[in-house]
């Protein structure tokens, strides 16, 4: 509780003593937005950690070998991840639902186990140490998050967004309205890869090391990112971001639980999914959590005549 009390009583101290946490929230928020883009266009893709790895390793390797400025490295990592999105998207976007999820997990694991752990330049299992200033960028991360969320929100309001919504609701009906389903899915997938690459490049500079752990660039991470969206709700951009915020804060929310932290976190997630399946920021805004069997005001039937 001290943690949250401090947030209100002494925000300056809070900010200074939790920079790492705040940065992680910002980065997870960007990854969550990347997840939002694919889900909003009806694609259950779990490829985000793979694109994050591309962004992270590209920017760190450029820094180590070419000594280019940080901003150039990050932009290069982001663009390369988007290019990876094209290459991965072309074969796998014919798949739908669970099959797409499995195929993208295949990509994530092939990249981590097959490439990163086997190519000497990536430092293999040991990862790469680098010296870039890790925490100078907190404001930049938060500004990035705001800009990304704003841009994606605007995209969902335009022609692109309405095509995505149509595809998510019913691909066959979308075709009948003249929407090229394959094209718009690809666009969403590439944007999503781009954002994941950006988040990965930023995250690599949060600590002094980038390492190929499962919880960084593997299935565990993929599931975590999916949880952001499921918990927060994927109908509106802020949903997954809210999910990322809560999940990243869970260790602090259940600080008192000590060794039982994971038990409490698990029960909390199950409770949200049971009582609010559309996510915390679901339809009807931030509705209060209310199970379906909860007694509610009866709507009066119109009187006859």
């Amino acid at each position: 509780m001290d943690f949250f009390i401090q947030l209100f009583t002494d925000p300056v101290l809070f900010w200074n003593s939790h920079t790492l946490l705040i940065s992680q929230i910002g980065i997870n928020g960007i990854i969550a937005t990347s997840m939002f883009l694919v889900l909003y266009s009806g694609q259950l893709s779990l490829a985000a950690p793979g694109f994050m790895a591309i962004g992270a390793y590209t920017s760190v390797l450029m820094e180590l070998y070419w000594h280019t400025p940080l901003s150039v490295n990050i932009v290069a990592g982001t663009l390369l991840a988007a290019g990876g999105g094209v290459l991965v998207g072309l074969p796998v976007l014919r798949l739908r639902g669970v099959f797409l999820a499995i195929a993208t997990i295949g990509f994530v694991e092939a990249l981590r186990l097959g490439v990163i752990l086997n190519v000497p330049i990536t430092g293999e299992g040991l990862g790469l140490k680098h010296t870039a200033d890790p925490l100078g960028g907190v404001p930049m991360i938060l500004v990035s998050l705001v800009v990304v969320v704003f841009l994606v929100w605007r995209l969902t309001k335009g022609r692109l967004g309405s095509a995505w919504a149509a595809i998510r609701q019913d691909e066959i009906a979308a075709l009948s309205q003249g929407i090229s389903v394959a094209r718009y899915k690809m666009i969403a997938f590439i944007f999503s890869a781009l954002l994941a690459g950006y988040a990965g490049a930023l995250e690599a500079h949060l600590t002094f090391i980038v390492s190929p752990g499962d919880e960084q660039y593997g299935v565990t991470r993929a599931v975590q990112v999916l949880t952001f969206a499921v918990l927060g709700g994927s109908g509106f951009v802020l949903g997954p971001v809210a999910g990322a915020l809560i999940i990243t804060l869970l260790p602090y929310i259940f600080l008192q639980a000590g060794p039982y932290l994971n038990v409490f976190s698990g029960v909390f997630l199950i409770a949200v999914i049971v009582f609010r399946p559309q996510g915390i920021v679901g339809r009807g805004g931030l509705a209060i959590v209310r199970p379906s069997w909860w007694p509610r005001a009866r709507t009066r039937a119109p009187s006859p005549g």
């Binding site: 605007r154 022609r159 095509a163 919504a165 609701q169 019913d170 066959i172 009948s176 309205q177």
Partner: protein, 522 residues
Amino acid sequence: MLLRLDDVQRHFGGVRAVDGVSLEVEQGSVQGLIGPNGAGKTTLVNVITGYARFQGGRAWLESDELTGLPAHRIAGLGVARTFQNIRLFKDLTAIENVLIGMHTRRRDDTLAQLATLPIFRSAERSRTKDAYALLEAVALPHSVGTRRAATLPYGDQRRLEIARALALRPRLLILDEPAAGMNPSEKQGMRELIERLNADGLTILLIDHDMRLVMGVCKRVAVLNFGKKIADGTPAEVSTDAGVIKAYLGSGGDKEVTSAPGASGVDEATEVEEAATTSRAAREPDKAILHVQDLTVSYGAVVAVRGVSFRVAAGEVVALIGANGAGKSTILNTLSGLIRPESGAATFDGLDLAHAKASAIVRHGLVQVPEGREILARQTVLENLELATWARRDGAGTRKRIEDVMKRFPILGERRALSAGSLSGGEQQMLAIARGLLARPRLLLLDEPSLGLAPQMVDEVFRAIEEIHQEGTTILLVEQNALRALGIADRAYVIETGRILLSGSGDDLLHNPAVRRAYLGG
């Protein structure tokens, strides 16, 4: 000519769903496309609109060739369609649905969106205004605009789907069963809507099972059966065509229809009168094992069965006949506990079918052979039969029953080791009936046993049904092939839009012109 089809082909495996169909739709006309269940109408629409590939033949929309184009390109060329089982964007509002329909004629505004330029807002305002005008065009009030599509009543969903199709500014509008599941007044409204759209110059290709609607609004009607076009002409020509009548009522074996074909000009009032004066030579039995009283069944907003009452006595064969979508299968599914009725009662030999579990109903001796057979295609014939005896664990007795059933259907015995999916349609139907018999039914419900079968196979299936009946099983039969069903039924009920229109002995109904009208309209 607006739309021209030349020898269009589409096969699924060995089934010729569309087999060399040529058709011309004139600019500004309403062209009807009818045919019995499984005739290939929807497949033809899917081929024209790019949802199924052409396997032969070509198609043009004026000078634009449609052959081989992807679905979204064909929509972009101006062919709009609706779907047989409504495909709205359910979680979006009605107005959002219509706005998505404007996709192809909306400039790409991605950059303008990012900057939220005011110029974009005015474009959006004018689009929204257009969308509301389209809602008005299909007679939907403004107030539905902000409602989620899934929450609209069924008839309004149909109208909204048409409004969405109109948003494309189509040159050709294809309506796939727009009046399915509607009550008579909704159907009248749909008819007026189609006429109004046509009067505004829109060319429409209309597919529907409701003959009164099709014959009423179409200038020309084409008839499909087994993938082939069997007739094409004015409604009057088509409704008196011998081939068409046969396709709809089925072949009656050695019986021929002798009554005069009351082709056109019959309105509903005379029909109802006729129904009331139908001879009641075959009275409903006083002692029945199946009682159905005022049964009403709905699917959400759609009322499929409206207050149906009938009885079946032990040892009878009773048929429920009527056109597609009349509610026949719904009645059977309700009796076997798969659907719960909204109101009314059904009892089978003391068991309350409205509340009993489906498994308890089967154990009580009421067994359904479902429409479309529902066999397990990848299991062998023997495995399919063994699964049917799952509930009985007496190994030797079960084995004997399976052998008995195989003796009754020798073809199944011969093919016991083959996968059920490799059997012909008729053999699969035999297997489905055999599986039903293994549950030792006292009342056997058969849902469309002749569906999609070639004539000789129909003969064989009906022979088997008669034999089963002679061995003492009571049968309730649902059939589109009316002449066939009436040929073996002791009594029959004619069902139209969820109501019993006529009832009587099989022979009586066979010669009643109102039966034909229930199928072919007037």
